[in-house]
Amino acid sequence: MAERNLRVELYLDQDEASAEQREVIGKVSQRFPQLEVQEFTLDSSQALDRGIILAPGLVIDDVILGVGRVVSAGKIRRFLESDKVEDENG
């Protein structure tokens, strides 16, 4: 499990899926307190830079994990425990 702080970017709209993704991240953050969550709108420059055109969008540690659909807590956990995050954690 990663020990360093991990930046989480949430790209949200005014829809149910965005609300659900926010809720999922909230729950995951309780288990992984090292997550630093920031929210953006689809018309933000950050969304433009990432190429995220559909909400909800989810980026963790500079990896785009979701565009246009909710990423479940299980999948987020799987990513946080993946080799990629582990390796960079040293």
Binding site: R50, G51, I52, I53, L54, D62, V63, I64, L65, G66, V67, G68, R69, V71, K75, I76, R78, F79, S82, K84
Partner: protein
């Protein structure tokens, strides 16, 4: 602004060749006069346009007077299709058009517009290798078919369509034959006499020319109703002051493409083989279409259980630029209509990406792309499950034939 990274999206557009830029610059500076002006300044600019027209015509093996400059592929397609239809309407007729289900939206939209005006259109589907069979076109013809419009190369998958064969059928029936050659010109030999077409669309920015300039070849003797009113430019077929610098750059790009066709083709074909070989070593990959009948610079591949949009966006974060066939529409991702029309499942569509290479790409870049695709594919397979992105469809030709489904 500078593009730093690996650009594998040459089917979308290409970098402008330095010699093209050099050819254009004088016409953005001192050579600014209107080519329709009869004073010396105007005549000098006219000379530049004429020379460019010779180069453009030369690439196709056409006569200079058969070339009409336009703003690009979309306008050329529109000019051809509406022009043919409006000529019918001028004679008090509506009629039937045959096209394919895998055309560029510029053609499909033009056909849809004409359907609303009372014309009938048949959209012929391709086989499961994303090739339209000439016989299918022949079977779609009706007694009042007045136009066949068919692409030379599919922009998404790269498959080469049997245009010459279809043109032969059209000629025998006295039907006008239009071909959208945008993805083929500069990549494979595309001479209008070999293809036997009456109308041929192409544009320069697909092979190192500038954006905003294309052409429609109109075979001598073919009458099209002009779709734009205005001056007498382009033999009265397209009014409006010419995009001189664009035309000159387009001409230069045609000159360069004609001289390097074989070398460029061999180069990108070798790079594509290198890329596909490495991808195949480390990931479950299936090639969409028919690689034996595909232009050398395009590879459309299905990466099994990898969300293509996420792969494309994450590659973009790493400064590697490719594309996907799926499109964002009405707030959600729609599967590729090209793959779908070939019978492929939405699963195949959502896991397929397009690599399109250019002469400036290197073997090292192909290696780097393969390495990053493989790494990201492994990662994305960890966070996406088949239940989320779909399942292989037993009828999907990309997998079914290999028994993977």
């Amino acid at each position: 602004m500078s593009l730093q990274g690996i650009y594998f999206d040459h089917a979308a557009t290409t970098p402008v060749h330095p010699e093209v830029v050099e050819a254009m610059l004088p016409f953005l500076r001192e050579g600014f006069a209107n080519p329709s002006s009869i004073h010396t300044a105007g005549r000098q600019v006219r000379k530049g346009v004429n020379e460019a027209r010779d180069h453009v015509a030369g690439l196709l093996g056409a006569k200079a007077q058969e070339i009409v400059f336009t703003s690009g592929g979309t306008e050329s397609n529109t000019m051809a299709i509406y022009g043919a239809a409006f000529s019918q309407e001028s004679a008090g007729k509506r009629g039937h058009i045959v096209t394919t289900a895998i055309e560029h939206p510029a053609v499909l939209s033009a056909c849809a517009f004409l359907e609303k005006r009372g014309h009938r259109v048949t959209y012929v589907r391709p086989n499961n290798k994303v090739r339209v069979e000439a016989q299918s076109i022949a079977e779609a013809l009706e007694p009042d078919t007045y136009l066949i419009t068919m692409m030379l190369v599919n922009n998404e998958v790269g498959t080469i369509q049997p245009v010459a064969e279809v043109a032969g059928i059209a000629r025998a029936r006295g039907i006008l034959m239009h071909c959208d050659g945008v993805q083929g010109v500069g990549k494979i030999p595309a001479r209008v006499s070999d293809l036997g077409v009456d109308l041929f669309t192409f544009t320069g920015h697909k092979f190192s020319g500038p954006k905003g300039c294309g052409a429609l070849y109109i075979r001598d003797g073919v009458e099209l109703t002009p779709i734009s009113a205005g001056g007498k430019q382009e033999q009265g077929r397209r009014g409006g002051t010419e995009n001189v610098a664009g035309i000159v750059g387009f001409g230069k790009a045609c000159e360069l493409a004609g001289g390097n066709l074989d070398g460029n083709s061999n180069h990108v074909r070798q790079l594509r083989e290198r890329l596909l070989s490495q991808l195949g070593d480390v990931s479950s990959v299936r090639i969409n279409g028919d690689i034996e009948h595909t232009v050398p610079h395009i590879a459309n591949v299905c990466l099994v259980y990898v969300d293509a949009l996420l792969l494309m966006l994450n590659l973009s974060q790493r400064k590697i630029f490719i594309s996907v066939g799926s499109a964002c529409a009405s707030g959600k991702l729609e599967p590729s209509y090209v793959l779908r029309s070939a019978g492929m499942s939405d699963f195949a569509s959502f896991t397929s990406v397009r690599f399109s290479l250019g002469p400036s790409n290197t073997p090292e870049e192909a290696d780097e792309v393969a390495r990053n695709v493989s790494e990201l594919a492994t990662l994305l397979r960890q966070v996406r499950t088949p239940e989320e992105i779909g399942q292989c469809d037993e009828n999907c030709p990309c997998l079914w034939q290999e028994g993977v489904a």
